[in-house]
Structures are given as structure tokens and as C-alpha cells.
């Protein structure tokens, strides 16, 4: 039971060329704006054609350009949730949700509509018009409308991006709840890394129309297959690198040698570490027994409510080279932890633990 996708479509900037199979579990599609994420969903929904390709849902062919099969959107049984909800403004919430249930008798339809309203926690709002609802309620209504026709796959196009932070959290919980009972392929387009991670087990990274990574979220976040994927999944620290021996690389930009636990499949080109994986050591404990420990100086810091981002210079004080101080690494730590070492004299000692470092081929 799966959604098989293989499409090639020419877009103004690049060619969308993807091929993957989504199983009966939510899949997050991550990528920068304009990577072709929305276009991919539109092709699957049947709102756009493709030059070449084949799409099949549980073996049921939705598109096959070779056999000249192109099932219209209305017959695909693929539900779509639009970024701006697209609720019909001239119909009440109840009528919106019941739109796809025209074949049912009135009593049965009302029963189903009310059950769906309860399911998305907006019971009692069926007489309202979309304009009378909040953004969160509108997106819930749109979700109920898409679920009403019992789609065999669900496509969600940035369903949370139009909501403010508070509603976003609530709607995310709603989606989690929905996915828990919806054992069908569900594709969620987003450019929010954390959302992508929380809502799905599998992640597909799209860049300029190409799949640059596809796999379990742990795999992609802990061992990104390329520099691009590391960057797209929010990694901030990179250095050009080359292998010295098995388990040992030289990081040219950071001017140091590093022990790593995983080597790349191909020739080593880059090494990286996530900002929150950088550890700070006790004073003067920087001895030979500790691996990958280096002296560092603080260039500047930037605060968020609970965390602090530290911009660091490795090996020598920032002032020495003159001009704009170079920043080698950025580390992210909780403020409580920062309080413990902020008053210490420089240099501080940081550790790039071998387990957290990832090595990427060129």
C-alpha cells in the first residue's frame, strides 16, 4: 500500500524531476522556497500535468504519460489541504465539509459532518461562514472537508504557515492526532525543519526540483548525505575536510584534526556539526585524554528567550588577525548552562564529540 511517484515536469527555473515511494505514514517534504514542493503536490493531486511520469496509489494508476493516462483530479481520491485553507466563502462550514458528500442522504450527511467537526474540535460551528472563524478554526474546517471524502492519500501544503505561533502549536497537535488514525500516505510540505521532524517519520528533501535526501528523519538529521542537505536541515557549522586515516579527518577551515565515528561513503569533502551539539569543557581539563577539544574565544553572542547562540573563534583570540573577526563555529546552549561558564577567562574549551560530527562526501 503506497503512493508511487515518478514525475518530470519543466518549470520556469528548473525541471522538477522526482521519483520516490511514500508508504502508509506521514512524510515531510522539506526544502527552500521555490524548490518545487508545492508543484509536486499539485501534480499528485491532478491539478497540474507532467511531461513524463507515472503516479500510482495502491497500484491504481493516476498518471501514466506513456500510456496516456491522466486521471482528472476529481477521480483521484487524493485529499488536499491548501496553505490558505481555500474554504468556499459562500458556504457555511457545514456546507463546506459536506461538499464532497453530495451522494449521501441529508440525515447521513449531517451525521458525518457533525462527527468530522467533533474530530477536529470545532463542534457547533457548522452554521458559521468561513470569514467568521479564526485562522486555526478555518484550517481545522479545511482538514475536516478534505477528510470527509475519505481520501486514499492526503496532501498538505504548508498547512501551518499562515497561523501564528500559538495556533500553530495547536494545529500541529491536531495534525499529529489526525495522522495517528490515518493509516494512509500523507505528504506534508513545509520549510520549517522542526515541524517536518515532529510530524513525520520520514523526510524527503527537495532542492531545485531534485530529491537530495530521502529516508528516516534520524538518518537525515544525524548523517546528512551532503552539504546541501545538512544546510537545508538547519546545520550551521561546516569545514572543508579531507581524510587522513580511517576515523580521522583534517578540517581545513577549522585548522584541526578530528576523530569521527562515521566516515563518508565517498571521498571526504566536508565535516559538520550542529550548533547544539558543541560541548563546553571544564576549565583546564583540556588534556590529551579528551578527544577533539580545542581552545576558543567568544566573538559575539545572540540571545533568544531560552537559549543563546555563541559565535566562536578557534585557536586564537578574535582580535589578532585584524579587520572583521572571523567566526569559525556557532554553538547553541541553554542559558542555564551558559551561566556556568560565561564568567570564565578565555580561552574556553569546546569539544566536537566524534559521535556528533558528520562527514560528507563531495
Amino acid at each position: 500500500m503506497a503512493l508511487e511517484i515518478q514525475i518530470e515536469k519543466k518549470l520556469p527555473e528548473f525541471t522538477l524531476d522526482v521519483s520516490f515511494t511514500a508508504g502508509d505514514a506521514p512524510l515531510s517534504i522539506l526544502g527552500p522556497s521555490g524548490a518545487g514542493k508545492t508543484m509536486l503536490l499539485r501534480c499528485i493531486a491532478g491539478l497540474e500535468g507532467a511531461r513524463r511520469g507515472r503516479i500510482a496509489l495502491d497500484g491504481r494508476v493516476l498518471l501514466d504519460t506513456q500510456k496516456r493516462i491522466q486521471v482528472p483530479a476529481r477521480d483521484r481520491r487524493v485529499g488536499m489541504l491548501f496553505q490558505n485553507y481555500a474554504l468556499f466563502p459562500h458556504r457555511t462550514v457545514g456546507e463546506n465539509i459536506g461538499f464532497g458528500l453530495r451522494h449521501l442522504a441529508h440525515e447521513e450527511k449531517m451525521r458525518r459532518v457533525n462527527a468530522l467537526l467533533e474530530r477536529v474540535h470545532i463542534g457547533g460551528l457548522e452554521q458559521r461562514y468561513p470569514r467568521q472563524l479564526s485562522g486555526g478554526e478555518q484550517q481545522r474546517a479545511a482538514l475536516a472537508r478534505a477528510l470527509a471524502v475519505e481520501p486514499e492519500a492526503l496532501l498538505l501544503d504548508e498547512p501551518l504557515s499562515a497561523l501564528d505561533t500559538h495556533l500553530r502549536g495547536q494545529m500541529e497537535a491536531q495534525l499529529q492526532e489526525t495522522f495517528a488514525t490515518y493509516h494512509r500516505p500523507a505528504l506534508l510540505v513545509t520549510h520549517n525543519i522542526e515541524e517536518a521532524y515532529r510530524l513525520a517519520e520520514q523526510i524527503l528533501v527537495l532542492s531545485r526540483g531534485k530529491v537530495v535526501a530521502f529516508g528516516s528523519k534520524e538518518e537525515i538529521f544525524h548523517h546528512p548525505p551532503s552539504l546541501e542537505v545538512a544546510q537545508l536541515t538547519g546545520c550551521k557549522n561546516f569545514s572543508r575536510a579531507r581524510a587522513i586515516s580511517e576515523g580521522m579527518v583534517e578540517a581545513m577551515d577549522w585548522g584541526c584534526r578530528l576523530r569521527v565515528t562515521h566516515m563518508a561513503a565517498g571521498p571526504v569533502a566536508h565535516v559538520g556539526i550542529r550548533a547544539h551539539h558543541i560541548d563546553f569543557e571544564e576549565a583546564n581539563s583540556a588534556n590529551a585524554a579528551q578527544e577533539n577539544v580545542f581552545p576558543c574565544w567568544l566573538v559575539r553572542a545572540s540571545e533568544t528567550p531560552f537559549r543563546i547562540t555563541l559565535y566562536l573563534r578557534l585557536h586564537r583570540p578574535p582580535g589578532e588577525s585584524g579587520g572583521n573577526p572571523q567566526i569559525d563555529l556557532q554553538a547553541e546552549v541553554f542559558k542555564e548552562k551558559w551561566q556556568l561558564f560565561r564568567e570564565r577567562p578565555f580561552p574556553w574549551h569546546l569539544q566536537l564529540s566524534p559521535e556528533s560530527l558528520f562527514v560528507m562526501p563531495g
Binding site: L47, A73, R76, V78, F82, A86, P89, F99, R131, A148
Partner: protein
């Protein structure tokens, strides 16, 4: 008081000949219905189609708006005349159109059509495509997408087009005279009655029908304007 005076004046000149009023209303209403259906169909078909062929289609659709009505009428006469392609076809079915009441409807419809087509197209194009797409993913046929989503959302604009078409049909003179002539009680509409009254020096009759025309136009346009306004402020638009 005005209607009584009008009635008195009209009956004074030609004893209770109300036929131009009846013919004008019947013609305009029928022509408006014809243009509403034809204009909407054409606009819906034309929607989201592009290419040089569409420029030709647009040109043909808008021609009656640009050409003098007499030219439109003359073309129609050529088409529906004894030797015209449509005229021959109708003759085989045992019908002649020229100088009959249907000719007034044809002339008025053709002249009013571009207004309906233009406004309907603009109104349909303003409907956000996402609503139509959402309807499709919910299993709606193209006909249902049009009837249940596109048309209701475009309705204020379509209604405006209908008013314009009705006004244009009511005022139609040139093409009607060419195709339908002036047969009292059959094809004599108010504008034609006025023209021939003036020609026959029956100023009183001309003035009476002019005033009648003004009254009808104002009443209908006012009524329809009020109605569109009510439609424009429909419940779902308000918060």
C-alpha cells in the same frame, strides 16, 4: 401622477396602443435571457484558454460592440435573409425570421452579447482558482465546479452584466430596424415607435414614448442596482 399623464397622452395620440411597450419588454427580457446563457457559456469556455485563436474569438465576440448597430443589422440581414446561410436553413424548416418578432430578439441579443460576455469573463476570472481546485479534489465535476463554486462567487459581476445587457437590449434600434423592420403590433419596439412618430410629426406620441422609456429604464435599473447592492453585501461577505 406621471404614469396617469403618460397613459393619457399615449391614449390621446393612438387610442390605447400599448403594443410597443409590450414588445419592448418581451424582446428585452427574452434577449437578456439569451445573452445571459450565451455570454456565460462563452465566458466559461473561454476562461483560462490562451493563444492566437482566442484573440480571434474575442474579436468576433466584441465586434457587435464596436460596429454601428446598422452594420450589425445588415450582417444579420445577410445571414438570415432568403439567400443567407441561416435563412436558407430556417426556410427548409419552414420558418422565416426576417421581419418577425424573433428578429427583434436576435438583433437585441447580438448587440447586447458583448457586454454580457465581457463582464461575465471578468467576474469569472476574478474567482480565486484555489476554490475551483479545492472543489475538484473533493470530487466535483467541472459542471458542479462551475455551478456550485465559480458562478456563486462571480454572481455580483454576472448580475451587473445582466443589467447592462438588459439596458442595451431595451435601447436597441439600428439592428432591430434592419432585421425586424417596423411592423406595428409585431416588431415595433419603443425606440422604433419614437423614430417613426417623429418622422410622422406626431411629437406628442414621440414625447410620450420617450418619457415611458425613461421611466422604464430608471425603474428597472434602479431596482436591479438595489438588488445587486444587496447581493454584493451578501451574508458571507460580511464578517
Amino acid at each position: 401622477m406621471a404614469p396617469i399623464t403618460l397613459a393619457a397622452q399615449i391614449s390621446a395620440s393612438t387610442p390605447t396602443d400599448w403594443s410597443p411597450l409590450r414588445i419592448s419588454i418581451e424582446t428585452s427580457v427574452t434577449a437578456t435571457l439569451v445573452t445571459l446563457v450565451a455570454g456565460l457559456t462563452m465566458a466559461a469556455w473561454r476562461q483560462r484558454r490562451t493563444g492566437p485563436a482566442m484573440a480571434v474569438v474575442d474579436g468576433i465576440c466584441l465586434l457587435p460592440l464596436v460596429l454601428p448597430p446598422t452594420v450589425v443589422g445588415f450582417f444579420l440581414l445577410l445571414m438570415f435573409g432568403r439567400n443567407g446561410p441561416l435563412g436558407k436553413l430556417l426556410l427548409r424548416l419552414g420558418a422565416t425570421v426576417v421581419f418577425s418578432w424573433p428578429a427583434t430578439v436576435i438583433a437585441a441579443s447580438v448587440v447586447a452579447f458583448p457586454l454580457m460576455y465581457l463582464t461575465a469573463r471578468a467576474a469569472l476570472e476574478q474567482v480565486d482558482a484555489r476554490f475551483l481546485e479545492a472543489a475538484r479534489t473533493l470530487g466535483a465535476s467541472e459542471w458542479r465546479v462551475f455551478r456550485a463554486v465559480a458562478l456563486p462567487l462571480a454572481w455580483p459581476g454576472v448580475l451587473a452584466g445582466t443589467i447592462l445587457s438588459f439596458a442595451r437590449a431595451l435601447g436597441e434600434f439600428g439592428a432591430t430596424l434592419m432585421l425586424a423592420g417596423n411592423i406595428p403590433g409585431k416588431t415595433e419596439t419603443i425606440p422604433i415607435a419614437i423614430y417613426f412618430a417623429v418622422e410622422a410629426d406626431d411629437v406628442q406620441r414621440a414625447v410620450a414614448w420617450c418619457l415611458a422609456d425613461v421611466a422604464i429604464s430608471l425603474a428597472l435599473l434602479g431596482g436591479l442596482y438595489y438588488w445587486t447592492h444587496a447581493q454584493g453585501r451578501a451574508r458571507w461577505v460580511r464578517r
